[in-house]
């Protein structure tokens, strides 16, 4: 293998060439921006230095420098200047450069966001330790708010990007029989916008951080430390990445499907990415706009929200941020149904109903945002309207459960780690969904909003639903991505520790919320200390499960035994190519000739024909 030879020859210093150059060019750009801002401020007759002005301009130029340095220069910009572009680097070096291969980008996303997930999880462990004492065991109020805010935004970023960015990128072209994404360079850009986001969020802590949670409500967000500006710039950058990613998926899925891959034969996971991408493309812009308005309030003295109209911010913010939860969970539903059908050895039940469910969720998601604002007013028309739309969204969500339960019914359930996680996700999301009704109901929400009931509810949907689905996906596609197999027993142990730890952590939080524990507080009513200690211990068990996960994955990736090409005997396209797939995916364009999930159907042909022998098929392509 040439790849292996390269891997041996590339030294560490050389391997990180592009990252090193990106950092250097980024610093140059940053210095230039800081200087320009100082010059402008001097010309305007004020002192040359004000952290927020200098930093904002420095960041914009620094971001450009970083992107060019990390490889956009060779593989994109040179072409505009009429110069020859250079091909993707090889070996492990390609994971640390601006590279257009969708599989490399998928792995970059996946590894980055699993790492971010673990960091944010560690912060959660610290918070759970702190809350074992009702007067707070670890932090003062300001630091607690900062840690909680950082935990929140890191986890939100993971939830937005880990499945779409990771598995979406790796799998969608493979599953639809395409050579790559529609816009490979745009795809690379969406990933390389992410490291500056992480740098901003972490350096923000050095200038006072921000303590407004991930929601950044003004007026507080306009008045507090400079860290808030870093937060706003980070979110705008991250939003840009999401928007471009969504666009890329919509175009790819619409136009690059292999011959015969009709919409009705699309794997359900691809449908879920398609649905989530519509939301990412349309609604993220509102979020970015809200952040921009807040940043301009700070930088340029506008008055959108300070005092302006703080409620306007909430409307704009939730106009994205509620649909965003469907960016989280729709790909989770896709994985869940995908895994259930392969490991039940049965066709996906009510496939078209599930797709209709996804698209109806997308449609309704845009008109439910104000259920986050039920306690901002007593205006009954407002409350009633959003109660109705929010509860209506339970109907299409129910169709996903119909499809899931119908699929496992009469199946042959092979309880591998991915199947266990998929079943666990179904159970957790059931609780997350049902408790959502309590929060959609205005009277009960008056008591429950902003309490631990909400904390428990959204962790059930995001961790219990989406992250469990993510873990199912990792255990399912690990042999596809790495070509190696992990230890199944450790995978099952991870499942049980996580499943029990998770439920025992968050079930008691419903109780705490019902009994007067509000969220985002560093100290609480001593009467609730017992419940909190219990939840904390369970959280540590869950955390321990992840240590096993990381150990198992890292060890297996390096030393694991080589996996069969199709260890799960799955019918879908991505399993019909070698593992890991070759850079060009398919030697010749594949031809899709049947349904993806026809397990046990008498007389069913294959889903796909690879390297078609007849010249006709080739011509068609």
């Amino acid at each position: 293998m040439t790849t292996a030879e390269h891997a041996e020859r590339i030294g560490l210093w050389q391997g990180f060439y592009y990252v090193r150059r990106g950092v250097l060019w980024g610093l140059i750009g940053f210095g230039l921006g800081v200087g320009l801002a100082a010059l402008f401020r001097t010309a305007a007759g004020s002192s040359p230095w004000w952290l927020e002005h200098n930093f904002a301009v420095g960041y914009v130029l620094g971001l450009l420098g970083w992107l060019l340095g990390v490889g956009m220069w060779e593989r994109w910009v040179k072409e505009w200047l009429g110069l020859p572009t250079q091909p993707n680097p090889h070996g492990w070096m390609r994971y640390f450069a601006f590279t257009t291969d969708h599989k490399v980008i998928g792995v970059q996303y996946l590894v980055t966001f699993v790492a971010v997930f673990l960091i944010a999880g560690l912060l959660a462990m610290l918070m759970r330790y702190h809350l074992m004492d009702s007067q707070g065991a670890l932090f003062n109020g300001g630091v607690y708010n900062q840690v909680m805010s950082l935990h929140g935004i890191l986890m939100i970023a993971v939830a937005v990007a880990v499945i779409i960015g990771g598995f979406g990128n790796f799998l969608v072209p493979l599953m639809i029989g395409a050579r790559d994404m529609a816009f490979p360079r745009l795809n690379a850009l969406t990933y390389w916008l992410i490291p500056p986001v992480a740098v901003l969020l972490l350096t923000a802590q050095a200038v006072g951080g921000w303590d407004t949670g991930w929601t950044a409500y003004p007026p507080l967000a306009v008045r507090n430390a400079a860290g808030q500006l870093f937060f706003n710039l980070a979110i705008i950058t991250f939003g840009l990445s999401s928007i471009l990613g969504g666009l890329n998926f919509l175009v790819t899925i619409s136009f690059l499907r292999a011959p015969g891959m009709t919409w009705g034969r699309l794997p359900i996971f691809v449908w879920s990415i398609f649905s989530a991408s519509i939301i990412a493309l349309i609604f993220t812009q509102a979020f970015a706009a809200a952040m921009l308005m807040e940043a301009v309030d700070r930088l340029a003295g506008t008055n959108f929200f300070n005092p302006g109209d703080p409620l306007l911010y909430q409307h704009v913010f939730w106009f994205y941020s509620h649909p965003a939860v469907y960016i989280f969970i729709l790909p989770g539903f896709g994985i869940l149904l995908e895994v259930l059908t392969h490991f039940s050895r049965k066709p996906l039940f009510a496939y078209r109903w599930a797709v209709a469910g996804f698209l109806t969720i997308v449609a309704i998601s845009g008109i439910v945002w104000a259920h986050h604002m039920f306690v901002t007013t007593s205006e009954v028309a407002f409350l009633g309207a959003f109660l109705v739309t929010t509860e209506a969204i339970s109907i299409p969500t129910g169709l996903v459960f119909l499809s899931a339960l119908g699929t496992i019914w009469m199946g042959r359930l092979w309880l591998t780690p991915p199947m266990l996680f998929a079943l666990g996700a179904l159970f957790n999301f059931l609780i997350g969904g049902i408790t959502g009704i309590y929060l959609a109901d205005v009277p009960s929400d008056i008591q429950l909003s902003d309490t631990y009931f909400v904390v428990a509810h959204f962790h059930y949907t995001i961790i219990g639903g989406e992250i469990f689905a993510l873990l199912a996906a990792i255990y399912y596609w690990f042999p596809k991505i790495t070509g190696r197999m992990y230890h199944q027993g450790l995978g099952k142990l991870h499942f049980w520790l996580t499943f029990l730890g998770f439920n025992l952590t968050f079930l008691p939080m419903f109780w705490a919320g019902l009994h007067g524990m509000n969220r985002r507080i560093a100290i609480y009513d001593p009467a609730l200390e017992g419940v909190n200690v219990f939840a904390s211990i369970a959280a540590f068990v869950m955390g321990a499960g992840f240590l096993i996960f990381v150990g198992n994955m890292v060890w297996s990736w390096v030393r694991g035994k080589v996996a069969e090409a199709n260890p799960w005997r799955a019918r879908t396209l991505e399993w019909q190519v070698p593992s890991p797939p070759p850079e060009e995916n398919f030697p010749a364009p594949p031809v899709v000739v049947g349904e993806p999930y026809e397990y046990g159907v008498p007389g069913a042909g294959p889903h796909v024909v690879l390297a078609p022998s007849g010249g006709d098929c080739g011509k068609e392509v």
Partner: protein, 248 residues
């Protein structure tokens, strides 16, 4: 199929009996709180059969249909009628809870405060409601009783059985008025006055019941968790004495 139905029935009966017999919420100390507690309870009665249906189907499938490997395939199931029935049942359920406890409950808990302008408030005032103004600021609450001439009190004292009309606002950033025992929450927003009308139903105090506290429920900065003042519900005569003491 019969086994799942039986399992569902047993779990549902068990769940409903538990939900009925076991009081999983604190005692509400206001009239509106009663409605809110009822809403949570009614939603639970609706939730249990849904929860137990999925759990019964899951448990049965996992036990009954498990297999050691991918060698054999399952039996394909196709149905045109089941999805339609499912859609009809889930929609029926959703529309039911939208109306009750949803919309009907919403009208109840916002009553006499739901009309913007003067209509609702005027009627509450005409009915002899006690006007109390609550102001949030980083990081405490100030309570004013304009008709009694009491300003800047640092505890919320209310006469039992007397209708109260709250006017809630903020001096700086967002806060949220929350008394867990009253089960009432309304945001305190700078430049906006929010109204809530309710009646405290029992004499008690923060010392006796830690849920009788006015706590900020909207993240408002460093000392957010400490933004708590005590609440006391007293006999009308005691309230008069307290007012007289405050005026001095």
């Amino acid at each position: 199929m019969l086994v799942v139905a039986a399992l569902w029935l047993v779990l549902t009966v068990l769940g409903e009996v538990l939900a009925f017999a076991f009081d999983f919420q604190p005692v509400p100390l206001s009239d509106k709180g009663e409605h809110i507690k009822d809403a949570v309870r009614i939603l639970t009665y609706f939730a249990i059969p849904v929860l137990t249906f999925v759990i019964a189907a899951l448990i049965y499938s996992i036990l009954r249909f498990r297999a050691p490997g991918p060698e054999a395939d399952g039996t394909p199931v196709r149905s045109h009628i089941v999805p339609w029935v499912w859609l009809a049942v889930t929609s029926g359920l959703a529309f039911t809870i939208m109306v009750f406890p949803g919309l009907l409950g919403t009208i109840e808990v916002t009553s006499s405060a739901h009309q913007h302008g003067s209509g609702g408030q005027a009627s509450a005032r005409a009915g002899g409601a006690l006007l109390v103004q609550v102001e949030g600021l980083q990081w405490t609450w100030l309570v004013h009783y304009p008709d009694q001439g009491v300003k800047n009190a640092r505890e919320l004292v209310l006469p039992v059985g007397q209708q109260v009309m709250l006017e809630v606002t903020s001096r700086d950033v967002l806060h949220s008025f929350w008394v867990p025992a009253f089960m009432l929450k309304i945001d305190a927003i700078p430049g906006v006055v929010n109204h809530v009308t309710f009646t405290p139903t029992e004499v008690s105090s923060y010392e006796e019941n830690s849920l009788l506290r006015l706590q900020c429920a909207e993240l408002c900065g460093q000392a957010h968790a400490w933004m708590v003042i005590p609440v006391r519900v007293v006999e009308p005569k005691e309230f008069e004495r307290w007012v007289a003491g405050q005026r001095k």
